[in-house]
């Protein structure tokens, strides 16, 4: 993929080989190729446009080093810009409060329950916490069982009320339970919901109001396409979440949704999930994600040599 993008860029630059600088004229064709690469990676159409326009301004006038072709220089500029956009300030999980309450939300099937298990495992093993998992999904068949199985695998207690048909109440009771059982982190797994489902969006907002979580994480499937912006925006408007979790990165998707979401809500990606087993939780590397979105191998070395 890197080869092909790089080759396409070289072709776009062909007429201007030998020129020392990237100019308005020669950058136009390249920008089009980069935009196509981004959209192929599922970056939102409008965002890809805005982003490449910015890159164009940045690139114009750049001096092409002898050892590196204009195409490669453009790729480097794009990649650095992408990584910068997705990186920024270090973004730790917020664990203030006793117990610290973490609310997990997102679309159906995005990986919330699995991630809840992974996070509990991580906090227990790596941060020495004693977490309580909360089954606040009262809709999905066997949602409670699923969380209990995961809790069992990692030795973390799961709070549930199989007969309660009120997720807000379950969440509230769970926090009380955490107090009395000396649990210092509460992780609330909620049902999947669509952004257009008003009743369900109101429910998760009500859970937030009731338990005042220190941290809210929006879980999103890395294979998501153009709609990622709509969803992220509505969830953020409703919940003002603190961070994003990108799941199923063990697949071969380019993951452009990551860029779209960052662009639209400007919230950091705090974790990536890359497997079905509970030990497959990683921190986020903006640089790697940028390369992945562009479908390229590592060209930093190549550029540094120059």
């Amino acid at each position: 993929m890197f080869e092909s993008l790089s080759e396409r860029l070289e072709t776009a630059f062909k007429q201007v080989k030998g020129q020392g600088r990237i100019t308005d004229l020669n950058v136009a064709a390249t920008v089009k190729e980069i935009r196509k690469a981004l959209v192929d990676a599922d970056v939102n159409y409008k965002i890809a446009k805005e982003f490449t326009d910015k890159v164009k301004d940045k690139a114009t006038g750049e001096k092409v080093i002898n050892a590196i072709s204009p195409g490669q220089l453009m790729v480097k500029i794009v990649k650095d810009e992408l990584a910068g956009l997705m990186g920024g300030e270090a973004s730790e999980l917020v664990l203030k409060g006793n117990p610290a309450v973490i609310l997990i939300a997102g679309l159906q099937g995005s990986g919330k329950t699995t991630f809840s298990g992974k996070l509990a495992n991580y906090l227990k093993l790596k941060k020495g916490k004693s977490p309580l998992l909360v089954a606040a999904d009262i809709y999905r068949p066997a949602a409670i069982d699923q969380l209990k199985v995961l809790g069992g695998q990692i030795g973390v207690d799961v709070y549930s009320e199989p007969d309660t048909k009120d997720a807000v109440q379950i969440a509230r009771n769970a926090v009380k339970e955490a107090h009395s059982k000396n649990k210092n982190v509460v992780i609330i797994d909620t049902a999947g919901r669509l952004a257009v489902d008003e009743a369900m969006m109101a429910e998760v907002a009500a859970i937030k109001d009731a338990v005042q979580p220190q941290e809210i994480l929006f879980v999103v499937d890395s294979m998501t396409g153009q709609d990622a912006v709509n969803t992220a925006k509505v969830f953020n408007d409703r919940l003002d979440f603190g961070g994003v979790v990108l799941t199923k990165l063990d697949g071969d998707t380019r993951g452009g949704a990551a860029l779209s979401i960052r662009y639209i809500v400007d919230k950091p990606i705090k974790f990536v999930s890359s497997g079905e087993k509970l030990d497959t939780l990683d921190v986020f590397y903006p640089e790697r994600m940028a390369q992945r979105i562009l479908g390229m191998g590592d060209i930093t070395t190549l550029v540094e040599k120059a």
Binding site: D42, A142, D145, Q146, L194, V196, D221, M223, T224, T253
Partner: protein, 298 residues
């Protein structure tokens, strides 16, 4: 959403008083299609076709352009060879009719099976479920709840059992019971994991030990909010299990599922069903015309 100007609204403005399709119209068209996850290559293909048709047919106005669009896009969606599942009827003469359901993690396989069971039962068919996802936490419990909800029997084993052996038992049981249709659930798996894809091929082979021409349908479930990666899913699942139908789920949200245009065009696999909710009745037989129409709705 509703406050945003619809694509056709934009289109109408763009072509008002003009006699040809100009750049602006094509740009709007490109934006609408790409934003529906159709993908650049398929979008370019559609736009080329529109340009050719316009040159040939003499473009007149929005109504005609709209009709051309509908026609050209619908043409990409292959028609199911046997018009299968209209009103949830099964192609005759194959009993039990075995449907193997596959797909990546979390797309809606188990739920789609629950909905299909409901629809087939309502259409007067006897249904059996096979719980061959023995891996995902509480997957068997989930399918069991669906079997109770719909009121159909289920063949299952303990978690961690060999999925192929569950499938084998389910097919044998379907034959013995003389049911009309057997729906086999499988664990979600990412298509780039070779060992998991091999496991699917094995399930297929084991089914064929009992009924050589089964599975009669291999249904690949795609999440309607998935982007271009769905093309890779179709490619790899087809290679492993010879996918014969598609279902697109979660179309009750704002995602359009436009990537199936590329898939249908490339792999010639018909879309059979769409999922529009989480309840048993939230499954529809795919309608090309309505689907294309919905691509342009906001």
């Amino acid at each position: 959403q509703k406050t945003k100007e619809g694509f056709l609204g934009k289109l109408t403005r763009a072509v008002a008083g003009k006699s040809t399709v100009d750049e602006e119209v094509l740009d709007n068209l490109e934006e609408a299609l790409v934003s529906a996850d159709v993908g650049i290559d398929t979008t370019v293909k559609i736009i080329d076709r529109i340009e050719k048709r316009v040159a040939k047919d003499k473009y007149l106005g929005t109504t005609e352009l709209n009709r051309l669009l509908q026609e050209e896009i619908e043409a990409l969606l292959v028609e199911a060879p046997d018009q299968g599942y209209k009103d949830f009827e099964l192609p005759g003469g194959k009993k039990p009719y075995v449907i193997l359901v596959v797909g990546v993690n979390g797309v809606g396989k188990t739920t789609t099976i629950g909905k299909l069971a409901h629809q087939f039962k309502r259409a007067g068919k006897s249904v059996l479920l096979g719980a061959a996802d023995t891996f995902r936490a509480a997957a068997v419990d989930q399918l069991t709840i669906w079997s109770e909800r719909v009121g159909v029997p289920i063949v299952k084993k303990e978690m961690g059992a060999d999925p192929a052996s569950v499938a084998f038992d389910a097919v044998n049981s379907a034959v013995a019971k003389g049911v009309d249709v057997l729906l086999i659930d499988t664990a979600g798996r990412l298509h780039n994991k070779a060992h998991l894809m091999d496991e699917l091929s094995k399930i297929r082979r084991v089914i064929q030990k009992v009924i050589p021409e089964a599975p009669h349908d291999v249904l690949l479930v795609l999440d309607g909010s998935t982007g271009q990666n769905a093309v890779e899913q179709a490619r790899h699942f087809t290679a492993a299990t010879q996918v014969t139908s598609l279902a697109i789920t979660k179309l009750d949200g704002t995602a359009k599922g436009g990537v199936v245009l590329a898939i249908a065009d490339q792999f010639k696999i018909p879309v059979r069903f769409i999922g529009v909710g989480e309840k048993a009745e939230d499954l529809l037989v795919f309608d090309r015309h309505e689907f294309v129409d919905s691509l342009f709705k906001l």
